[in-house]
């Protein structure tokens, strides 16, 4: 799918003919905006939303002074990114709290969006903040939906209120709220049945639950993979229920999640949470600026940086960087580095966060096998101290010993040493590109990284 190359490289193509010109003409901007438009449409942002958005960005981009910046493409992306972030709600917003407990939260959405799972996750999140949530099972239609909520409740040790599937959801909600008041629960989360927004009967039922429980938060649960229709769904739910916020689910998939932008644009409600995985604690606060770069196909660089910051020892990283630059990188450092990378979490998740990674040619075939990493570690650990520091010492008989010691074969040992040498060479290249003072901003570095990755980057595992 050639059309899925990143926006940044497409914009570079548009602007490559610009060389020598001082200002971006309207025609250039139009060309660039066509690419931006395509990128947004590919990410499933609603076409009407795209249209308005493009008009807004166009204004800013015409007459852009590019004589100072040698990469007008980046400047345009910057504008687009800022506008997108703005449109998505600027900064993140929190869950409201009622003056008088309990705070009532109502979940709504289409079938299969992930309401019940999200209800459980939200309860877990509240528990972490030392709250006592009660979940009310109002989905009496889907087979075993109540059971699902009960299992989730058992997992996190949170109470679930249910009255079986023969009582009307409105009555269940009313009784559940009363139950919460009596038992001192400070948060109540009402799980409702999934319904089509055009199903009048069921929408009426939701309205009644709304009237009776007077929720402080009405959260629309939206599947991040939703296409153009997200606008209609959000609109009619909003019209009937006055949403206060949105939860975006299944964001750990490889979707670009343009639905987020559509929903925000139509309802004006902030996206409060994002569900990022299968586990019960995978509900995270939503970060608009990260979503913006994801929609543009620029990867989730910020998340990665943040993860790295919290997990990688800064001192060690500094030392490592020096070693990389001077290419005195040894197997010992290699081992240490591998451990640090591992601390970041599952490798395929990290790979996903790197810009352009998932769309890169050949990258799909590259599987990150955690077991393979273990084998590599075993090989390195089977070397003597001297060998680790001076890999050139490893002659044939030493290699044989290492293979036997690590339970691998000489072929595997050879391959690792070869890859290690390649990596060292690459680092030399890499460091000369970044200059002696480290990376000049992530943008330049990224461009270089991509070029390298395209050709000779091979992970040693």
């Amino acid at each position: 799918m050639a059309a899925f190359e990143s926006l940044s490289s497409r914009l570079q193509n548009v602007f490559s003919k610009l060389r020598g010109k001082g200002k971006v003409s309207e025609e250039d901007v139009n060309d660039a905006m066509r690419e931006v438009r395509l990128a947004l449409l590919e990410a499933d942002v609603n076409f009407k939303v795209v249209k308005d958005f493009i008009a807004k960005v166009k204004e800013q981009a015409v007459g852009l002074d590019v004589s100072k910046s040698f990469t007008p493409g980046m400047v345009v992306i910057d504008i687009v990114n800022k506008e997108l972030t703005e449109l998505m709600g600027g900064t993140q917003s929190k869950l409201v709290k009622a003056n008088k407990p309990p705070t009532v939260i109502m979940m709504a959405g289409l079938q299969g969006a992930g309401k019940t799972t999200t209800t459980g996750k939200l309860a877990k999140l509240l528990q972490k903040g030392n709250h006592k949530p009660l979940m009310i099972a109002c989905d009496i239609y889907r087979p075993a939906a109540i059971k699902q909520l009960q299992v989730l409740g058992d997992q996190i040790n949170a109470p679930v209120f249910s009255m079986g599937d023969q009582t009307s959801p409105v009555d269940i909600a009313r009784a559940g709220l009363q139950h919460a008041k009596e038992n001192g629960n400070d948060y109540v989360i009402i799980d409702t049945a999934g319904r089509l927004h055009i199903d009048e009967e069921l929408m009426e039922e939701l309205k009644q639950i709304h009237q009776i429980t007077k929720p402080d938060e009405v959260l629309l649960v939206v599947d991040a993979m939703t296409g153009q229709d997200a606008v209609n769904v959000a609109k009619s739910f909003h019209e009937q229920l006055e949403l206060t916020g949105v939860v975006l689910t299944k964001l750990d998939g490889d979707t670009r999640g343009g639905a987020a932008l559509s929903v925000k644009a139509v309802t004006g409600c902030p996206i409060k949470f994002a569900a990022m995985g299968e586990k019960i604690d995978s509900l995270e606060p939503f970060h608009p600026e990260r979503m913006a770069s994801r929609i543009l196909g620029m990867g989730d660089m910020l998340s990665l940086i943040e993860k790295a910051q919290s997990n990688i020892d800064a001192e060690k990283a500094k030392e490592m960087e020096r070693k990389m630059r001077t290419a005195e990188f040894t197997f010992e450092d290699f081992l240490e580095q591998m451990e640090q990378v591992r601390n970041l979490g599952p490798l395929d998740q990290i790979m996903d966060m790197l810009p352009g990674m998932n769309k890169m040619k050949g990258m799909k075939d590259m599987k990150v096998d955690e077991k393979q990493i273990g084998r590599v570690e075993a090989i390195v650990r089977s070397m003597t101290k001297e060998e680790k520091q001076k890999p050139e010492l490893l002659n044939h008989s030493r290699r044989k010993r290492v293979a036997a010691g690590s339970g691998t074969t000489v072929v595997e040992v050879n391959r690792l040493i070869k890859q290690f040498d390649d990596m060292k060479k690459m680092m030399k290249q890499f460091s000369s590109m970044m200059g002696p003072k480290g990376p000049k901003g992530s943008k330049g570095g990224k461009k270089g990284l991509k070029g390298l990755l395209g050709k000779n980057m091979k992970f040693p595992f």
């Binding site: 799918m1 059309a3 395509l38 449409l41 590919e42 990410a43 499933d44 609603n46 076409f47 249209k51 289409l110 079938q111 299969g112 969006a113 992930g114 799972t117 459980g120 889907r142 087979p143 075993a144 939906a145 109540i146 059971k147 699902q148 909520l149 009960q150 299992v151 989730l152 997992q155 089509l196 927004h197 055009i198 599947d223 993979m225 939703t226 296409g227 153009q228 229709d229 997200a230 209609n232 769904v233 299944k250 750990d252 998939g253 490889d254 979707t255 670009r256 343009g258 639905a259 299968e278 395929d348 996903d352 998932n358 599987k367 990150v368």
Partner: protein, 335 residues
């Protein structure tokens, strides 16, 4: 005879009930899509850049997918030049023809059943698309046809999934082969295939847990399920159906591709098509990956799962356009 007339005649031979299910289920799609095209053509008389752009928006708005839309528009441009078309109205038949070409492909819409013995159908897809519900509905359908059916509760991960399938089993009156929640789904499949062999059932429907297609380990698990079934019953699974939510956008392409790689998807089930969803993404999937749609879910009731019929689909989708051509045709004969 015009294409539409042929289509109409072939549909007339089909039962009215089925046609109506399609028509009702796709009512929203029709208004959202065909009417817009018509409105555009009557409003904009001339074919210019603006016209193309608006047409592009309508198609993209139906989730047809950017690549496919671009391809379609390019083809239209070529046709317009070749046939020297100037009026927008003259473009309409060309457009319809192109769209139908995209959607039709080879017509093996029916489910592939084993020549003799057990037919195994494996259901895969991301979370929350309606796999379990589809299995329930399909079991009902087979049961009505007088076949003996067995269900395999392969979703051992999601809370309540096994119970959900059991409820369906009770409703329809078929047995469910299950293990505890959290057990190895491949082991469940093994049990299910053995049970199916012993009891000599006609159809075994296998549920799996929803998984996002970029989760490597979960996709490997699916691959294992696939291998186990294949090993125990050499010809099986006879169909691997990827269940797709009709509201899904471009990501459906990625789903079809990656699930195809790991579990050899043979066809699609499009669910929740009775919303305002347009399901245009199936056109893109057909075009880029040539996977046929086999079943469509057009409502919440047990009987609302229908075998996909591209002619019905097109007829329901372009009802407006077809009537117009009809009127024009009769005018011509009057002259």
């Amino acid at each position: 005879m015009s294409f539409f007339k042929k289509l109409k005649e072939s549909i007339a031979t089909k039962t009215e009930a089925v046609t109506n299910v399609f028509k009702e289920g796709l009512a929203k799609t029709r208004t959202a899509f065909a009417q817009k095209v018509e409105e555009l053509i009557t409003r904009r008389k001339k074919i210019d850049e603006q016209f193309y752009e608006e047409l592009e928006e309508i198609l993209i708005g139906a989730d047809v997918g950017v690549n496919t839309v671009m391809q379609l528009i390019d083809e239209l441009r070529v046709e317009v030049k070749k046939r020297k078309i100037e009026e927008a109205a003259d473009l309409q038949p060309v457009l319809s023809e192109k769209l139908i070409q995209l959607m039709k492909g080879d017509d093996h819409a029916g489910l592939r059943m084993a020549a003799s013995g057990i037919t195994v159908i494996l259901f895969v897809g991301v979370n929350g698309v309606g796999k379990t519900t589809t299995i329930g509905k399909l079991a009902h359908k087979f049961k009505n046809e007088g076949k003996s059916v067995l269900l395999a509760a392969g979703d051992t991960f999601r809370a309540g999934a096994i119970e959900q399938l059991e409820v369906w089993g009770q409703r329809v009156g078929v047995d469910v082969i299950k293990q505890q929640s959290g057990s190895d789904p491949a082991a469940v499949m093994f049990d299910a295939v053995q049970a199916a062999k012993q009891r000599g059932v006609d159809v075994l429907l296998c549920d799996t847990a929803g998984r996002l297609q970029n989760k490597t380990n979960l996709m490997e698990e699916l691959n294992k399920i696939f291998r186990v079934i294949q090993r125990e019953l050499p010809d099986a699974p006879h169909e691997v159906l990827l269940v797709l939510d009709a509201t899904t956008g471009q990501n459906a392409l990625s789903q079809a591709k990656l699930f195809g790689e790991k579990s050899g998807v043979t066809g699609l089930v499009l669910t929740k098509l009775d919303g305002t969803a347009k399901g245009g993404i199936v056109i893109a999937i057909r075009n880029e990956l040539s996977l046929p749609v086999k079943l469509v879910g057009l409502g919440e009731k047990m009987g609302d799962l229908q075998q996909f019929d591209s002619e019905q689909f097109i007829h329901a989708l372009f009802a407006g356009l077809i009537q117009r051509e009809d009127a024009e045709g009769s005018e011509e004969t009057a002259k």
